[in-house]
């Protein structure tokens, strides 16, 4: 899995590509930890190029969401393909995360709140 991120106005847009699963989740954790340590509190996770997601990755997103909300931050999810959306729906997590059609809309939503 590749992980790219850019931060503007305290919103980090994290773009993932490839398989987001039990094997690759440790790379995600380490990227997120660095961003949290640099005091970013709002995150957009762009999943448009993610080809596969499993319960380990989703569990990690939930854990990440909990810790970010403790610091009054939030995580928005962007660009779910039908395949990835189906896994969010099966785990009911589409009701937990705010999901947007694209990363720019997700990032803008922070300034509206």
């Amino acid at each position: 899995m590749n992980i790219d991120s850019k931060t503007e106005n305290n919103v980090a847009i994290i773009t993932l590509s490839g398989r987001f699963d039990s094997h690759t989740v440790k790379n995600f954790k380490s990227s997120i930890t660095s961003l949290i340590e640099s005091h970013v509190t709002n995150f957009v996770i762009d999943l448009a190029a993610v080809t596969y997601i499993d319960s380990s990755a989703l569990g990690n997103l939930v854990s990440f969401l909990r810790s970010v909300r403790e610091t009054d931050g939030d995580i928005k999810i962007a660009s779910l393909t039908a395949k990835i959306r189906s896994v969010f729906e099966l785990t009911r997590l589409h009701q937990v995360f705010d999901i947007y059609d694209d990363p720019n809309s997700a990032a803008r939503s922070f300034s509206i709140e």
């Binding site: 398989r19 699963d21 039990s22 094997h23 690759t24 596969y52 499993d54 319960s55 380990s56 989703l58 569990g59 990690n60 939930v62 854990s63 909990r66 395949k83 189906s86 896994v87 099966l90 785990t91 009911r92 997590l93 937990v96």
Partner: protein, 145 residues
Amino acid sequence: MKLVEIKLRSTLEHAQLGSVAAAHIARVYCSLAMGLGPDADNSFIHDVELAVGEACTNAVRYNPDPNDSDREVMLSFKLDHNQLVITIKDQNKPFNFNETPEPDFASVPENGYGIHLMKSTMDNVSYSHEKGWNTITMTKRLKLK
């Protein structure tokens, strides 16, 4: 009946390989059964990829000795009368598969979704323990067009 067997090591990298292999095998079986293109039924392929990935990850995570990556996880895939039959075997401690609760969705848990995803994506999932091996057996019927 066509049979493919794969032996994996008990590592998360190999759990990923099991899932990737399952997707490829499901794609081939789709083509064999339906005579259609390789992407004939993406939903079927993804369901198999996810269910096998979850089962392999559980097999690795519940290895009582995480340093013993030589412990094996065995996969088999059979196409039997347009039904894909998959087994995932490991030598971990037996567990009470049938009494594993559904996730408590209201509390938004961080784990415990694996068996739920297997059952949600496959037609049938069952468990047995014999001669030191846990065996998860999953079936899914191809929807012929």
